[in-house]
């Protein structure tokens, strides 16, 4: 990555569908056809039953903030102008935890237990990131 550009996700065969779906503003999770459980991060098999019969199913996008931070140091120049910016971990209703940022609310709204809803941020024509808003 160059110093001035925010990094973009590395996309692999295991998560291609996740990122393709995000571009269409759909939050999809790996789902086991055998035991029906959702899992994260995406992998080649179900981590619960080791079945390789995985499909992708749409998630509600609803969850609660399980933890949060506010970053005050510019490790990457591309984020310097955003300081202080937040990041959150969100436990989705589907019982997987995603990392993102809280948007549409100030850092003073951050708290463990805050209900949130996934939103889709088209950061480039090719890549859409999932972030969260209160709701």
């Amino acid at each position: 990555m160059d110093d001035e550009t925010k990094p973009l996700p590395r996309i692999t065969p295991d998560d291609q569908i996740f990122w393709d779906s995000a571009r269409q503003h759909r939050l999809m999770l790996p789902t086991c056809s055998h035991c029906q459980r959702r899992s994260w991060p995406p992998g080649p098999v179900c981590p619960y039953c080791f079945s390789d019969d995985l499909t992708w199913t749409e998630a509600s996008g609803r969850g609660i903030v399980s933890s949060w931070v506010v970053v005050h140091k510019a490790w990457l120049p591309a984020f310097a102008a955003d300081i202080p910016y937040n990041a959150v971990q969100v436990r989705l209703e589907e019982d997987v935890s995603l990392t993102g940022n809280l948007v549409g609310a100030g850092n003073d709204s951050l708290r463990v237990g805050l209900p949130v809803q996934a939103v889709f941020d088209d950061v480039t024509p090719e890549v859409t990131l999932i972030r969260f808003k209160p709701g």
Binding site: P9, S67, V69
Partner: protein, 390 residues
């Protein structure tokens, strides 16, 4: 025939100067530490037949270059790259190599020049953070999380919300270790640290203040090990490896949180230590109460709380209160990181604390000496541990 059960002891320690912007190369610092360790053990360089590195490119030389430039000829090599979480693994690999007879004298070497490599530590040159869906410590540069500190911050924030712990309580960790550093001439930090200093220090990643984060320093440390049988006749009092358990991994684990805290995919049900969490005590044939000092990887002050809870010194959610009133200071019930640790001595991937354990068990710790130290534990918040006895 492979011998699978030789007892193992630490017989030599050495370290370079610890500092910032030191002029020597990593290999230069390592050579200083290796020379001191050989003198300490009264061994010759040619006695070394095994090499265990806790360093590697791009944060240091690899084993082949090290053997090459130090003129070592070894029959056994192990290398874990420069991450704190592999300090125990590296020492344990050396123990296993000797125990199984694959090597007789192993040098564990780490040499670090972090001040020359700031761009790699969470900066633009830190490619590790770009692992898909986040790196080991919760780094996820896509969302602005680029430093290992974010993992400790995520865990501490949730811990504070669940248990009502406060930053003021957490400050007892860096304050205790600073007191220890002030008794240690090798330590980089020379001034007392007060609660007011801690609270006034700038926020790095909320809830972590500057003084909750380790120093970024240069230095090297070396530990020499051999069989306990050979150690009996050697220069210094041997420090025996009495019991070990290894790094834990799985969906119930997050490197910077105790089991069940709910970071990443961890379950959200906290657990008191289970049989598998306490194997190190059974293997050392001691109870936890026999431990006279606990040493842990203190890259960030919350990791100290989580190590205490991981090994059951206190219950889930209790550590922030438990560490108050000098409990983890010299003279307290359970002194920790008595040379100052990563927070106040130096960041030598915690080999500075391993060396301190050896000094303590030899009775060489001077003003920091734990009285009659006979059993000390190394144990990290990611669950690995080594119990040492003299």
């Amino acid at each position: 025939m492979v011998q699978l059960s030789r007892e193992v002891a630490i017989v030599g320690i050495g370290q370079s100067e610890f500092g910032r912007n030191l002029p020597q190369s990593q290999l230069g610092l390592g050579a200083t530490a290796l020379r001191m360790a050989l003198e300490d053990a009264q061994l010759d360089r040619s006695d070394i037949d095994g090499l265990a590195l806790h360093m590697g490119w791009p944060l240091g030389a690899d084993y082949d270059r090290m053997a090459d430039v130090y003129g070592l000829e070894v029959d056994w090599v192990y290398q874990c790259w420069t991450h704190g979480r592999f300090v125990t693994s590296t020492l344990q690999a050396a123990v296993m190599a000797i125990s199984t007879g694959m090597a007789d004298v192993v040098a564990c070497i780490t040499a670090i020049s972090f001040t020359r490599e700031l761009g790699i530590l969470g900066g633009p040159g830190d490619a590790e953070g770009m692992r898909e869906h986040g790196a080991t410590h919760g780094e996820n540069p896509v969302y602005g999380l680029t430093s290992p500190s974010v993992g400790a911050a995520l865990a501490m924030q949730r811990y504070m919300a669940l248990y009502g712990a406060t930053s003021e309580q957490l400050a007892a960790v860096p304050i205790a270790f600073r007191k220890h550093a002030l008794l240690n001439p090798a330590a980089i930090m020379k001034k007392p640290l007060t609660l007011a200093d801690h609270q006034a220090s700038r926020m790095i990643v909320d809830p972590l203040h500057l003084f909750d984060c380790s120093l970024i320093t240069d230095g090297a440390a070396v530990v020499l090990l051999t069989t306990a049988e050979r150690a009996r006749d050697m220069a210094k009092r041997p420090v025996h490896i009495a019991g070990m358990q290894a790094i834990r991994s799985g969906r119930s684990e997050f490197i910077f949180a105790p089991p069940g805290l709910g970071i990443n995919q961890q379950p959200t049900e906290r657990v008191t230590p289970r049989e598998r969490d306490l194997a190190v005590y059974r293997r050392a044939d001691i109870g936890r109460d026999a431990v006279q000092g606990l040493y842990t990887y203190d890259a960030f002050s919350p990791l100290v709380l989580f190590a205490l809870e991981r090994f059951g010194f206190c219950g889930p959610g209790e550590a922030a209160a438990w560490i108050q009133d000098g409990r983890i200071e010299l003279g307290g019930a359970l002194p920790m990181n008595t040379s100052g640790g990563l927070l106040s001595e130096a960041h030598v991937c915690a080999w500075n604390s391993i060396n301190e354990m050896v000094r303590q068990l030899r009775g060489e710790a001077g003003p920091r000496q734990i009285a009659d130290a006979a059993v000390l534990q190394w144990g990290t918040c990611w669950g690995d541990s080594i119990i040492m006895r003299n």
